[in-house]
């Protein structure tokens, strides 16, 4: 139980041990992946053959390190590009949705509120195929009827972006709505009362208040987009995002460069985490108030 209640040692150490085990369970797979990025073998799997940095730096016929693997680097660029758009769209539309759901009353609102949560419980694959099928139908229709080639409705990055956006915006909506719900509306009235126009109120009061949750939603959206696989798989065209490329590499023949890129991802996200922690730490007193 909670620390203020006497806890029998069994409970106390039991819980401690469990939590330790829990985090070991969480991190061991990552650690081995990181470790085998330095394995001097051509395959991303045991046995351990000695230490090497080849999988980061090599650029020979036999081995291509992360830094020289143009395909991998490009796919990372593709992922980042997709994630960027998904983030922008999700946060933008998510903010609109939050205002819509928290600030307006209109017929059918509860239906829209419910619907907007649905994408969270639709398996990613199904989201992918349904969007694929629907987009194909429109594209085929346009092609057959008007001879119009709607490229963006064919598998490719625009569709990937739409597919990921479709459910990530739900998360952004939930996050920003929660924050907007906690927002004390008298702050807006106060600003209005102090002579601010409606636009100035939004710009100087409401949006700054929402900023932390928007940043949080953006970070979440970026990461979720970056690591999405299920939906993306059904919607990719000729440009592969990182996850899809890694998947095909894993099937078609992988080298520890996969581990190397994994390590890179881990470090990047750890840095992001540190940054967030640091920001949160700085904001702490403000939040407690």
């Amino acid at each position: 139980m909670i620390p203020s209640l006497p806890r029998p040692p069994l409970q106390r150490y039991g819980l401690g041990a469990f939590v330790t085990g829990f985090f070991v369970f969480l991190f061991v797979p990552l650690l081995v992946v990181a470790l085998f990025a330095f394995n001097n073998a051509d395959y991303p799997t045991p046995p351990w053959m000695g230490f090497t940095l080849d999988w980061f730096t090599a650029n020979s016929d036999a081995r291509t390190g992360l830094l020289h693997d143009a395909e991998l680097l490009q796919s990372m660029g593709v992922s980042a590009w997709v994630a960027l758009w998904v983030t922008l769209l999700s946060v933008g539309v998510g903010t609109c949705n939050a205002f819509l759901l928290e600030r307006f009353e209109f017929p059918g609102k509860s239906a829209i509120a419910l619907l907007s949560m649905l994408p969270l419980v639709i398996p990613g694959v199904i989201l992918g195929i349904s969007i694929l099928a629907f987009a194909s139908r429109i594209a085929n229709f346009a092609d057959e009827t008007w001879g119009l080639e709607l490229d963006f409705l064919r598998p490719g990055l625009p569709l990937v972006i739409l597919g990921q956006f479709c459910y990530i915006v739900t998360i952004a909506t939930l996050t920003i709505s929660a924050s907007l719900r906690r927002f004390d509306r008298t702050l807006e009235e106060a600003a209005y009362n102090l002579g601010a126009s409606r636009l100035a109120v939004l710009w100087t009061i409401t949006l700054p208040y929402l900023r932390p949750s928007m940043i949080g939603a953006a970070a979440m959206a970026f990461l979720m987009s970056f690591e999405n696989f299920n939906t993306t798989l059904m919607l990719v065209g000729s440009d592969s995002p990182l996850t899809v490329l890694m998947f095909s590499r894993m099937r078609e023949g992988a080298t520890p460069v996969l581990n190397a890129i994994s390590l890179f991802l881990m470090i990047a996200s750890a840095l992001l985490a540190l940054m967030l922690l640091w920001r949160r730490g700085a904001q702490r007193p403000a939040e407690d108030a």
């Binding site: 008298t186 009235e189 209005y192 009362n193 102090l194 601010a196 100087t204 007193p285």
Partner: protein, 373 residues
């Protein structure tokens, strides 16, 4: 019911004129055809129980709610169709509504900036305003670094810096704890006297209204029951509601048994006979209610301690609510078993009363009020 009369003085001396304003929510009238004026430079309070329509009224003045009927005139100009951000009034909100993402200085400068006052001019005003509310040099502080009372002052400073014709305050002390509230009451009154801005203050705490105000309106069910100085409300209540709501009171119900000029004799169901001042028309045989303030009753261990001439009763002490200078005693009148509470003398003379002791009490009929029930 006493109909409130507008305060004396021409419109030129009034900062606020409320003219037959009404606001309904469905069939329910939150503010019911209300008219009154607030004299320039005065501290005007609206006192009433929760849900009586105070906030609705204030928000209509601020412009957040449009009245269904009637007009609101501020400094002689009708506010019909004027948006809240264009009205010469500012509001201090119940929970202050300080902007947590801005520093103290930024909070106060916010309204100035919206008017296009920036840079050194704004800075000077902010500095001056902070000095006036007793927080010199706090510009850089974060809102969460302030104590409750300091926040209070910043909220007021933020509004005052815009030099509004009218400052509206919606129970701004409600969230503070007891000691701080006592302190802020005095401070707020002084501040108003210094700056001279007209304050319209709403509260459900009668002590706040009495201590701070020049004029108090007692509101109930969307209407004013009485409008007057604190002393008028306290010593000459016009309605039973005001008598019951403002200050503590012993309340007795019964029928009028006889009348002598403006004084009437009420007989309670228990049989106690009480003389009191009648308010309004009231005559023998009518049901009525008598109010006697605990501190208007004289109490003593023996009847000899009581002033002569007035009728006296004996009673048994139920319990002493000792609270220093505010101590009261709950007694049960011996003959009719009527419960009363009586204030104990400030001197602490009777602070040692015990349960079961017999005491004697009396009161001046001129200090008791009788209203039609």
């Amino acid at each position: 019911m006493a109909v409130p009369t507008p305060a004396a003085g021409g419109p030129a001396t009034h900062d606020l004129d409320i003219q037959s304003v009404r606001k309904r929510y469905g069939a329910f009238a939150a503010v019911d055809d209300l008219s009154f004026s607030v004299r320039r430079g005065s501290f005007f309070s609206i006192l009433g129980p929760s849900g009586c329509g105070k906030t609705t009224l204030l928000r209509m003045v601020a412009g957040f709610i449009a009245p269904d009927a009637g007009d609101i005139v501020i400094k002689g100009a009708s506010m019909r169709g004027v948006a809240p951000n264009r009205r010469p009034v500012n509001m201090v909100f119940q929970h202050l509504a300080l902007f947590p993402m801005m520093s103290v200085g930024e909070n106060i400068a916010y309204g100035l900036e919206r008017r296009g006052i920036k840079g050194a001019a704004a800075k000077a005003k902010v500095t001056d305003m902070l000095r006036r509310v007793g927080l010199p040099g706090s510009e850089g502080k974060r809102i969460d670094q302030l104590s409750g009372g300091q926040k209070q002052r910043v909220a007021i400073a933020r509004s005052l810096v815009l030099e509004p014709a009218l400052l509206l305050l919606d129970e701004p002390l409600g969230a503070l704890d007891l000691k701080l509230r006592e302190h802020m009451k005095v401070e707020l009154k002084q501040l108003q006297a210094e700056v001279g801005t007209t304050f319209v203050y709403i509260t459900h705490d009668q002590s706040e209204a009495l201590v701070m105000s020049d004029q108090v309106a007692v509101m109930n069910h969307g209407r004013f029951e009485q409008l007057g100085t604190p002393q008028q409300l306290y010593y000459q209540p016009q309605t039973a509601f005001v008598a019951g709501f403002v200050g503590n009171n012993n309340r007795f119900e019964g029928t009028i048994e006889s009348r002598n000029g403006e004084q009437v004799l009420l007989r309670t169901a228990g049989g106690m006979a009480l003389w009191s001042q009648r308010v309004g028309t009231l005559d023998v045989g009518q049901p009525a209610t008598v109010f006697i303030r605990p501190e208007a009753i004289e109490i003593g261990r023996s009847p000899r301690e009581l002033p002569e001439g007035a009728p006296a009763w004996s009673a048994g002490v139920q319990s002493v609510l000792f609270d220093g200078g505010n101590s009261t005693v709950q007694v049960l009148e011996d003959r009719n078993q009527t419960p009363l509470h009586i204030a104990l003398p400030l001197t602490g003379r009777l602070a040692d009363l015990k349960h079961g002791e017999t005491v004697h009490f009396a009161y001046q009929p001129a200090q008791a009020w009788c209203f039609a029930a």
